[in-house]
């Protein structure tokens, strides 16, 4: 089974990576307009290709190395769209902060290719290949400002700890391979499912390491330590990039591994995830309160949101998985906007770092302040924003599977979380600005942030379509068995 049609988007992106590299090398261009345009074109093209093959039914491809299904396609589309906005927000930043010529775009495209491989992987090897292809360019992206110590420190931390996490994941996968005798996700699932009552200890052993690897990538306690340091240290545009699309891809990987590959070990991974999720929600929300750096605060909020996403997996039902995916997509839109605004506000030689930098934003640019307020409301989970329905569907899934106590904890820490989101809003609206100059945006950035902010509102008021889409992905018929 070698159906190249089904990997057309990946092939297209791969070719375009080469094209962009060559164009960037040989064509004289001021401000990398051509590189930027080609990159965005690549994403648009990949989206069109993905949509063209969307309706082809679920098939395993290349002898089961990859799979084509709706879940993969939807995740890819989410990755394209968010990345498109990421490049749009970052364009000025890349230029002003002297982050190389075409490198950021090139690294970004490589990483996106990795994500595409990752979310459509159906074999431990492809999965690991995609994961590393996604991660390595991000390490480089973090270190792209070579004259900035903080960024280099962050990159080194990220790289070493990332390598450790990869090792843990690989170790876990090899244990499972050794016990099941297969690398194919479906076959492993069949082997484990065959003797579902009593598992060899080695599976559980491998599972713990797999979960640890996943937890690192999502950024969950106690594997979260890299996250605040990297988010803070990396250039704002790099933070923006690594906060959005990779999260979607990693949740995709989690679904592939836990839901598709290891459903036989559900009891075990449920226990593990409960501990990790509760710790993440509590630590993330609590520590975010005392942060003065806005990126660090959002980093801790990312940890908390990761904990929330896990709640859907803990519920262990189709409703729970779709709620987790919905939350992931919602979170992608929210963090895209929040980090996007931080990136947009940064100027030559000035990075927005502390919450005080947002003081009086309402006086300087009311529209941007309003968009930020919507995003923060959504992160806090207040209606009528998408964040409210994301939390609501998770809680529903939890309650319907009798994890009421877990739902209570989630709600309580969410209340604590509201505090630090509202504090930012208070600073934006009620504090006097340090710098009275009005802040204006380029038309494309303005339009993008408007679409971004209004999407929060639109999906908050009409969440039906997106929720239905997420639910359809987990109907039994659409999954490969």
């Amino acid at each position: 089974m070698f159906n190249f049609t089904l990997i057309l988007p990946e092939l297209f992106v791969l070719c375009m990576v080469c094209v962009v590299m060559l164009v960037d090398l040989f064509v004289e261009q001021r401000q990398q307009v051509l590189t930027y345009a080609l990159t965005q074109l690549t994403l648009v093209g990949a989206a069109i290709l993905t949509l063209c093959i969307y309706c082809i039914p679920t098939t395993a491809n290349f002898s089961g190395l990859t799979v084509h299904d709706h879940l993969g396609s939807v995740l890819k589309l989410a990755i394209y769209i968010t990345s498109f906005f990421v490049f749009l927000y970052s364009r000025n930043y890349f230029r002003q902060q002297n982050m190389g010529k075409g490198e950021p775009y090139l690294l970004g495209l490589c990483s996106i290719l990795g994500m595409m491989v990752l979310v459509s992987a159906h074999n431990f090897l492809t999965l690991y290949l995609g994961l590393e292809l996604m991660s390595l360019p991000i390490y480089a992206l973090t270190a792209l400002q070579r004259d900035k110590e903080q960024a280099l420190e962050a990159a080194i931390k990220y790289f070493i700890l990332g390598a450790l996490a990869s090792a843990l994941l690989l170790y876990g996968l090899s244990m499972i391979y050794g016990a099941s005798g297969s690398l194919d996700i479906t076959q492993v699932a069949n082997v484990i499912g065959a003797n579902s009552t009593q598992h060899p200890l080695i599976f559980v052993f491998g599972l713990v390491f797999v979960v640890a690897g996943l937890a690192f990538k999502i950024g969950l306690v106690p594997f979260h330590m890299w996250l605040p340091d990297v988010y803070t240290g990396a250039p704002n545009a790099a933070t923006l990039f690594l906060a959005v699309a990779p999260k979607v891809a990693v949740i995709g990987m989690t679904i592939r591994l836990l839901v598709e590959c290891l459903p036989g070990l559900q009891v075990q991974w449920q226990e593990l995830l409960i501990v990790i999720s509760v710790l993440s929600m509590i630590l993330g929300n609590f520590v975010a309160i005392v942060q003065t750096n806005i990126k660090r605060m959002l980093a801790y909020s990312t940890i908390a949101h990761g904990g929330y996403i896990l709640l859907g997996f803990i519920a262990g039902t189709a409703a729970g998985y779709s709620a987790a995916l919905f939350y992931t997509l919602a979170y992608a839109i929210m963090s895209l906007g929040a980090f996007g605004i931080i990136t947009l506000l940064s100027k030559q030689g000035f990075d927005v770092e502390t919450i005080e930098d947002l003081q009086g934003l309402n006086d300087r640019n009311p529209w941007l302040a309003f968009m930020m307020m919507l995003l923060l409301f959504s992160m806090a989970g207040l209606p009528p924003t998408i964040g409210f329905f994301a939390k609501l569907s998770l809680i529903e899934a939890l309650v319907s599977t009798h994890f009421v106590w877990l739902a209570c904890i989630a709600m309580l820490v969410a209340v604590i979380g509201v505090y630090y989101y509202l504090r930012v809003i208070k600073v934006m609206y009620f504090d006097k600005p340090l710098d009275n100059k009005p802040f204006s945006l380029a038309w494309d950035a303005k339009m993008a942030i408007t679409i971004n902010g209004l999407a929060i509102l639109y999906f908050g008021i009409f969440p039906g379509a997106l929720i239905t889409l997420c639910q359809q992905l987990f109907w039994s018929g659409t999954m490969l068995n």
């Binding site: 996490a165 200890l201 559980v204 713990v208 106690p222 330590m225 226990e271 609590f286 520590v287």
Partner: protein, 625 residues
């Protein structure tokens, strides 16, 4: 019939709206014209109803105007119940209201809130009419609260005066206390009967009572539900009709304009409680305990508030205490199951008490708002008409035949005398002494005001003269009514009853009261002061009004404030603000700061945390397996 009712109810409401909202546009004269016209229409239509029911003996009518709301099996209707009782009350309310409206044109002349005043009294008339025409408890409660509201507004009519504000708040709060009982009583009716309409409730009552339903209010006790409902409803009546110990608001209500005291706090609103009990008389008949309770409360109020009237120096206060005392008589009549006698006294009292108040108002107006009787005296030479009208009112109040008060009070005393329920003998004695006291205090006021030497200085004496026709015409009409109503009602036996009175004890007690007042305040004016000195402890108790006000002030007002302060200091400030709100904030800050220290920034710490995390998870899972 429905049209007639609409013509009774709506004109006062329209008048109130016109004078209240458009008062400044249409001006003062148009304001009083429109409200007087509204009440006049009401009065004429009431006369028609009165003729149909009382004279032509039309049968009871229960009209449902429309359904206001449904909730499950309940239906809340706006409906009207017209029978002899309603017709009588309609007559009383509209006639007194009409006279007071006319009187107010003179009394309120020049007041800044002229339009507001007429708007309020018209609104009061509407609310009172709603109360007495209601065919269900909810509508009764609507009227009940609406008259309470207008009463509050009118007591505090001169809102720049401190005592007026205090009095209005006091009236409002005391009535809220009694409303608790009233609402609970209505709740009991709904629970027991499943409806709030009077006729079904009263029709079912004997059947329900026969099954002896009981309720356990406190663990281990068992009460008859009928008794509980009756007493709860009566607690509502105790507030509105100012029965002890909820009477404390009525003397204070005299801070309002005098026409209001006549209309609301003598003739109509305060009798709402009496009306309500009479309306529900079949229900009350089923509970001897409730009747005993009512009888004792009524008799106690009749005697002890009457005694307080003897030591008051404010002419309006004397009449206010007299009102309390007379309300006590009415309630005692209800307790003795003499509902007709109670309503009879309500009607006669409305006439002579309105007369006394309006006459007092005439005196007050002539003396330029002087209310202290010690500064009056000898006024009969200046105000001959007011003098004779006051005398008629006083004789009626003192139950001297053939004035109207004699017939109604005689009926009450006779009924209580014949009653055999518990407490009847106590009530009889109290009411008998009350007759003496009544005559004493009202003639004390009479002699102090109109006889003796004139205390006002000669310059102002020249200014004292009778007021205009809008003042004296209502007085004359009410005086005629006070003389004749009793004889008209008892037309066949009127003469016989009057003659019989000369051989009965109450009559001679009343005469004794009048003579005592005459002796002490005209012949030997030094006696009262001497008595006050000699029995200073008794005098002190009376001046302090048995300590009800002080008790309330200390226990309830200060107690409530102290409790509120305590809850504010410890509950709100310490526990909620400091402890729960700021405390949880501090706790979270502390946790955050502690957790933050985990983030050391050293890569080997981070790696260690990951390894420990994996090992802990592995160990945990291995141990489980």
């Amino acid at each position: 019939m429905q049209l007639l009712l609409t013509a009774i109810l709506l004109p006062p409401l329209l008048g109130a709206i016109l004078a209240g909202i458009f008062g400044t546009i249409i001006g003062r004269v148009a304001s009083h014209r429109v409200t007087v016209l509204g009440v006049l229409i009401s009065f004429i239509c009431s006369c028609i109803i009165f003729k149909n029911f009382i004279l032509d003996h039309q049968s009871t009518q229960n009209i449902i105007a429309y359904t206001w709301g449904t909730s499950g099996a309940f239906q809340f209707n706006v409906g009207f119940l017209i029978d002899n009782l309603t017709a009588t009350m309609l007559m009383v309310v509209t006639s007194v209201s009409l006279l007071v409206h006319v009187y107010s044109i003179g009394y309120m002349r020049g007041d800044a809130g002229y339009q507001r005043f007429f708007s309020y009294i018209s609104l009061f008339t509407f609310a009172m009419l709603m109360l007495i025409t209601a065919n269900n408890f909810f509508q009764l409660f609507f009227g009940w609260e609406a008259v309470g509201l207008v009463s509050y507004l009118l007591i505090g009519f001169w809102f720049t005066r401190e005592p007026a504000n205090f009095g209005s708040l006091k009236a409002f709060i005391v009535n809220r206390v009694s409303d608790v009982g009233f609402i609970l009583g209505i709740g009991g009716v709904i629970t027991l009967f499943g409806t709030v309409d009077f006729l079904p409730v009263l029709a079912q009552a004997p059947k329900v009572a026969a099954s002896l339903p009981t309720i356990s209010l406190f663990a281990g006790t068992s009460w008859s539900i009928i008794t509980v409902i009756c007493i709860l409803l009566f607690i509502g009546a105790m507030g509105k009709s100012a029965q002890m110990p909820l009477h404390i608001w009525l003397p204070e209500s005299m801070e309002g304009p005098t026409p209001i005291s006549a209309l609301i706090h003598a003739a109509t609103m305060v009798t709402a409680g009496v009306y309500m009990v009479a309306r529900l008389s079949p229900l009350y008949e089923l509970s001897a305990s409730a009747l005993t309770f009512i009888l004792v409360i009524g008799a106690t109020t009749a005697l002890f508030t009457g005694i307080l009237g003897v030591v008051q120096n404010d002419i309006k206060r004397v009449i206010a205490y007299s009102t309390l005392s007379q309300l006590g008589y009415m309630v005692a009549a209800l307790g003795a199951s003499a509902f007709a006698a109670g309503i009879f006294h309500l009607v006669t009292h409305a006439a002579f008490k309105a007369l006394l108040f309006l006459a007092a108002g005439s005196v007050i107006l002539a003396l330029h708002h002087e209310q202290d009787m010690r500064k009056m005296g000898g006024l009969r030479r200046y105000l001959p008409l007011t003098y004779s009208c006051f005398l008629v009112g006083a004789l009626a109040l003192a139950a001297i035949p053939p004035f109207s008060g004699f017939y109604s009070k005689d009926a009450i005393i006779e009924a209580v005398h014949l009653s055999t329920i518990h407490g009847a003998s106590y009530a009889y004695v109290a009411l008998m002494i009350g007759v003496f006291v009544t005559a004493l205090y009202i003639f004390r006021a009479f002699f102090m005001t109109f006889h003796g030497s004139c205390s006002a200085n000669s310059a102002s004496q020249d200014n004292i003269r009778e007021n205009g026709w809008v003042i004296w015409l209502p007085l004359v009409i009410l005086a005629i009514a006070s003389i004749t109503i009793g004889m008209i009602v008892k037309h066949a036996d009127a003469l016989q009853l009057a003659l019989h009175a000369f051989t009965s004890l109450p009559f001679w007690l009343a005469i004794a009261g009048i003579v005592t007042a005459w002796f002490c305040y005209v012949i030997r004016p030094a006696i009262p002061a001497m008595l006050a000195n000699k029995f200073s402890w008794l005098y002190y108790i009376l001046i302090k009004k048995y300590g009800f006000d002080d008790f309330n002030q200390i226990v309830f007002v200060r107690g409530t404030r102290a409790l509120a302060q305590l809850l504010y200091n410890y509950g709100d400030q310490r526990l909620i603000d400091d402890g729960l709100v700021n405390g949880s904030g501090r706790l979270i800050q502390w946790i955050s700061a502690t957790l933050k220290r985990l983030q050391t920034g050293y890569i080997y710490n981070y790696a260690l945390a990951m390894i420990i995390g994996v090992l802990a998870l592995v160990l945990w899972q291995m141990l489980i397996a």
